[in-house]
Symmetry: C2
DNA sequence: TGACAATAGTTGCCTAGGCATGTATAGTCC
DNA sequence: GGACTATACATGCCTAGGCAACTATTGTCA
């Protein structure tokens, strides 16, 4: 192994500066800021970020039961029961018995839930637009591509 | 507004697939997977991911007091007090009075903390390497650049 | 079919962060 | 220097997720 020349050192410095604390802390940081901003935006509806994810999953019919929901977003079943309890108390979601499986309960938005959902979605779009200000379509695609590659590496 | 041609629709489909749930959920997802993997890797040391961040900040002398620490990682002061309590109970960190400011307490790693830290760092590197498998140096730089731009947009 | 395993959902217990409040100390400004 | 404000940290209370244990139901398979 040969000694490093000055130019090499400069190169190494440039590349190591952005990852001073590593990608984990960076992603954590971005996530904290995103969730804080989203919670702020959603607070006028008395809805939290996790609640929005659940509502969105039900609204888009990606998940019709609690267990599907848990798997799709890596959420604890016990926490999910209580989360649905809260959303049901708010009158946004409804549990209905599943005729094909008496262990399961189907989930669906109530009229109030369907009415509120577009506003929540708009709030989310606002936050996303704020953080992606100045991003080209390509930038967003690249970012999503890299993040998805991280997930696939799991 | 003119009607979309088939080619346009195809383009739109391609670009919208990755962001089916938006960047917020994607980042959340990556963060969950990262933290899960890190916690698993750290579990043999009985250390959690948040605790590692605190230890690293103290080890790298980025933060010498609790308040600096709170600011640098957006953490609640009350939670930080208890976090430091736990790390102190584990014998990894020490509170020492600050001679210049009697409100503050300085933080430093104990001998045990300094001995353990490199192993924790290696665990973190392992997880990072796992998720960044197949990434070129450029890929990492681009990813960090885009994430930093999101932070700057805040 | 009957035993056994797997799944859906719930509940209790524990842990940990967020917020509000309190206390001590330091800084500011007239 | 004295009143006022800001800061550092700690504590109590509340909320919410993770995990383990439990019940009811369904699937599997000999």
């Amino acid at each position: 192994m040969t000694a490093l020349r000055t130019a090499d050192v400069a190169l190494i410095d440039t590349t190591s500066v952005p990852s001073k604390h590593g990608i984990i802390r960076l992603i954590n940081r971005v996530r904290v800021e995103l969730i804080d901003a989203l919670d702020l935006e959603l607070s006028k509806f008395d809805i939290s970020a996790p609640q929005l994810i659940v509502l969105a999953s039900v609204a888009n019919k990606e998940a019709d039961s609690a267990s599907t929901l848990c798997k799709s977003i890596s959420y604890d079943p016990g926490a999910m029961t209580r989360m649905i309890d809260r959303l049901e108390q708010k009158g946004l979601i409804r549990r209905t018995p599943n005729p094909d499986d008496r262990r399961a309960t189907n989930l669906e938005l109530t009229t109030a839930g369907r009415a509120l959902y577009p506003q929540l979605l708009a709030a989310k779009e606002t936050v996303q637009a704020q953080f992606l200000r100045g991003f080209s379509q390509d930038d967003v695609r690249v970012l999503e591509g890299l993040l998805n590659r991280m997930l696939e590496n799991r």
